[in-house]
């Protein structure tokens, strides 16, 4: 694991939001907002887990991302947020409101659908490629001979 130096919770929230594109005055206001929504956490790891988990639980509630792991959903949320100017469009609502904006969910669904189509399993069986009899007889002849030599 990569060691994260001891920081204040607000620093960790700030870094987390900066990674999502927050900056300047918006960043400071967002840090205060999210810190208030997050409540008290004993360590940095827990607050990061909380920040990741909240949008995930909102998205899970939609039932559209059942086949995805929490990690994937968290990554999907971040990708949509970064690529669609989430700072301006949705601000801190993913952490401070009871659900995700509908527009964001639609985008996330589209991203998930564009990743790969649903599995349609088949089974390709290895086809036998057997040597013709004379060839097998010939190779067996040598095998037997070698065996005899070894003996």
């Amino acid at each position: 694991m990569v060691a994260v130096k001891v920081q204040s919770l607000k620093d960790i929230i700030r870094a987390y939001l900066q990674n999502l594109g927050f900056s300047g005055q918006k960043l400071e206001a967002a840090v205060d907002d999210v810190a208030a929504c997050a409540g008290d956490y004993s360590d940095g790891g827990s607050v990061v887990d909380f920040l990741d988990a909240l949008p995930v639980s909102h998205m899970r509630r939609q039932g559209k991302f059942a086949s995805m792991t929490d990690y994937q959903i968290a990554a999907l949320f971040k990708l949509v947020f970064i690529e669609h100017d989430g700072v301006r469009r949705w601000g801190t609502s993913p952490w401070c409101q009871k659900g995700l904006p509908a527009e964001m969910l639609v985008l996330a669904e589209r991203y998930a659908a564009d990743m790969l189509p649903a599995y349609q399993a088949s089974r390709m069986k290895a086809q036998p490629i057997e040597s013709l009899r004379p060839v097998r007889w010939f190779t067996r002849l040598f095998r037997r001979r070698r065996h005899h030599e070894a003996a």
């Binding site: 694991m1 990569v2 060691a3 994260v4 130096k5 920081q7 620093d11 960790i12 870094a15 987390y16 900066q18 990674n19 999502l20 594109g21 990061v48 995805m68 792991t69 990690y71 994937q72 968290a74 990554a75 999907l76 971040k78 990708l79 970064i82 690529e83 564009d114 990743m115 790969l116 189509p117 649903a118 599995y119 349609q120 399993a121 088949s122 089974r123 390709m124 069986k125 290895a126 086809q127 036998p128 490629i129 057997e130 040597s131 013709l132 060839v135």
Partner: protein, 678 residues
């Protein structure tokens, strides 16, 4: 399950094969009879048999190529189509689903995605785009290219026409190489598609051709594979331009000739083909061959075997020279060409084991034989030359005995039939070069006035340069065959697809022994058998000049100079097909978006890359096992990078192990921000 019947008169196919092979056999018999009078009379019986055997094999090889081309020539002149194939109306709406597959292995992500985008663009414009889905099937092992592929795919997705999909998946372990890659696709998503168009990393097919291929599959329910012969384009080195020209002028009669006698038992060339997924899943699961590499293990040249299996399963395999607009790129230099040959040679030699396997169609066995012979012919040719030289040398060292110990009225005159030798030489040259001129005739007749300019000069120039290269390729291929028989594995290297020229130093390293052998042969021949000097000159000269020829033909500037002087010009250079221009524009667009930091560095520094990589990690399957030491070392280096700004100097294994560790990547990204590095 009963297969749909192939709508072909068996007698018609039989007649075609009888003509081609009958004439080939007659040619071999006549030439061999002449050969027996030409070879010296004062050699041992064993040497005599050896010389006859080597002659039959090498001459047979060129005779088959010659007669096949002659029939291809008449087929092209008549503009007749391959029999048994039902052609659909061009406006027919597709009611089936086709997956366009681009298997990649450490290739340029921008080029591969650009080709797919260009194809998608044209398909959308044709109004049939919704019938196609595109897949980048990655087997990439280079972690830097892996991350770049993900980012590039994501950007390419945004450029896809409305309603069309471009998917990306990467296998953590590239088991069974390309065939395993396609099999993995079939097992996971194949059932969702009726057909799949298999591409190579440099393939490009016009929408009109792709749609026609899908339509042909719809109206020919017995078709398992339809192969569109690809035309080499897009390269500018002299070597590549010469290959492109040769492909354009001689390629059509070769393809038409093959299609003439192969009909519904044709071959699959591994790319630029459409395959019925159901037939492929049912018939083409490849076994792991018993024994060790190079003959055992995974099947390397899978395409021939897949065609044979699909044919064995009762489906038809068609090669349709009528399908135009199918492109690929050829290796830019002679050395790159030889490197590709090394891989192919191993795959083809493996077919020695398969060609005698049970239940294959005789024509499939012939495909294997042709593949084997395309490499084995080089050592055979070399063997014939060496035997000839040895006999001549032997005569110089051990002069002929005119009067043997057995008392006889007549002396033992060594007979040398000079006229017969010249006649055989002329016939052999005719069989080698006439198909080139037949190809030229078709090219001149069917091409426009602009194409005629310089075409004849180009054919002569091509003959001169390829004659100089032939002995070098003979030595290369003979060495490759020897390597394979000695059990040396070729590995799986990515083909060089850039117009990079060969340096003098590199050429000296690779061709030094060719030059040495050339000088040695010339000296020996000059000293001991001067009568062979002129006969051997095309070979010795090719070897002696191998270094400058290899370097000069690899130069883009020289290629462009030849183009300026109307040499080796192909129609695609005069009027660029729209799809090639589109692919170039997309490539430029994607190149601009190319990330400056590669691999792990990008994933930990860039939020978008971080999120995308973590999102795709689960899609790409479980991480391969990596040892604890590598993982620990990688993590220490990453910590030093974050905390002490030390350069992130990771080995390939370390980088891969980090790229599979989602927790580390997530935390590292946050830690970098906390440290104020982002």
């Amino acid at each position: 399950m009963k297969r749909p019947e192939i709508n072909l008169n068996p007698q018609r196919i039989y007649n075609r094969r009888l003509k081609v092979f009958g004439l080939t056999i007659v040619s071999i018999v006549l030439a061999t009879l002449k050969w027996t009078t030409v070879i010296p009379t004062d050699i041992t019986l064993l040497t005599r048999f050896l010389m006859i055997g080597l002659f039959v094999l090498t001459f047979g090889w060129i005779a088959l190529f010659f007669w096949s081309s002659v029939f291809g020539f008449f087929k092209l002149l008549k503009r007749s189509k391959v029999p048994g194939v039902v052609w659909s109306a061009p406006e027919r709406r597709l009611s089936t689903r086709t997956a366009v597959l681009m298997p990649v292995y450490n290739e340029s992500p921008q080029s591969t995605a650009a080709n797919l985008l260009a194809m998608a663009d044209e398909l959308a414009a044709s109004g049939q785009g919704k019938a196609f889905d595109f897949f980048i099937l990655s087997d990439t092992t280079n972690p830097k290219i892996w991350v770049e592929e993900e980012m590039n795919w994501h950007e390419a997705q945004k450029l896809m026409p409305e309603g069309m999909k471009l998917y990306y998946r990467r296998r953590p372990r590239n088991e069974a190489r390309k065939s395993g890659n396609i099999e993995d696709f079939c097992n996971k998503w194949g059932a969702g598609y009726d057909f799949m168009v298999v591409l190579d990393a440099d393939s490009l097919i016009e929408a009109k051709t792709v749609v026609t291929m899908a339509q042909l599959m719809e109206v020919n329910p017995q078709a398992g594979i339809i192969q569109a012969p690809p035309q080499c384009v897009n390269k500018h080195t002299l070597f590549a331009r010469m290959q492109q020209f040769a492909g354009k002028v001689y390629g059509p009669i070769v393809s038409a000739g093959l299609a003439y006698w192969q009909v519904s038992d044709s071959n699959y060339w591994g790319h630029n083909a459409i395959i019925r997924v159901k037939a492929f899943i049912e018939c083409c699961g490849l076994p792991v061959l018993k024994g060790r590499a190079p003959f055992g293990g995974h099947i390397l040249s899978h395409d021939f075997v897949e065609a044979a299996l699909i044919r064995r399963g009762g489906w038809a395999a068609w090669l349709l020279p009528e399908l135009k607009g199918s492109y690929e790129e050829c290796p830019p230099t002679m050395i790159d060409y030889a490197m590709r040959d090394r891989r192919w040679c191993q795959g083809e030699m493996q077919h020695i084991k398969i060609l005698v396997a049970r239940d294959f169609h005789p024509v499939s066995r012939l495909h294997f034989t042709i593949g084997v012979m395309s490499y084995l012919s080089s050592p055979l040719w070399m063997g014939l030359l060496l035997t000839g030289i040895m006999i001549a040398l032997g005569r110089d060292i051990f002069p002929p005995v005119y009067f043997s110990e057995v008392r006889s009225l007549f002396p033992n005159w060594p007979v040398f039939d000079k006229i017969g030798t010249i006649m055989l030489f002329v016939i052999s040259m005719l069989m080698l070069f006439l198909p080139k001129f037949l190809g030229l005739v078709v090219y001149l007749l069917q091409g426009g006035a602009a194409l005629r300019k310089g075409a004849v000069k180009s054919v002569f120039a091509e003959i001169v340069i390829s004659t100089l290269m032939a002995p070098v390729m003979m030595l290369f291929q003979s060495k490759f065959v020897l390597d394979v028989f000695l059990g040396r594995d070729a590995g799986w290297k990515t083909q060089n697809r850039d117009d990079t020229s060969t340096s003098w130093r590199y050429a000296c390293q690779l061709h030094g022994w060719h030059t040495f052998l050339g000088v040695l042969t010339l000296a020996v021949v000059w000293r001991y058998t001067p009568e062979l000097f002129w006969w051997m000159l095309p070979i010795t000269l090719g070897l002696i000049l191998s270094i400058p020829v290899s370097v000069l033909t690899s130069r883009e500037s020289l290629g462009l100079w030849f183009q300026k002087h109307h040499l080796f010009v192909i129609p695609e250079e005069l009027r660029e097909p729209a799809i090639i221009g589109k692919a170039r524009k997309y490539r430029q667009k994607l190149e601009i978006l190319r990330p400056s930091q590669p691999g792990v560095e990008l994933v930990v520094c860039n939020g978008q890359a971080n999120a995308l990589h973590l999102l795709m990690l689960a899609v790409n399957g479980p991480a391969p096992q990596s040892d604890a030491v590598t993982t620990a070392a990688a993590q220490i280096k990453l910590e030093n990078y974050i905390n002490h700004k030390m350069p992130l100097d990771l080995t390939r294994d370390e980088e891969v192990s980090l790229l599979y560790d989602r927790d580390v990547l997530n935390q590292a990204h946050l830690a970098l921000q906390l440290e104020g590095h982002l």
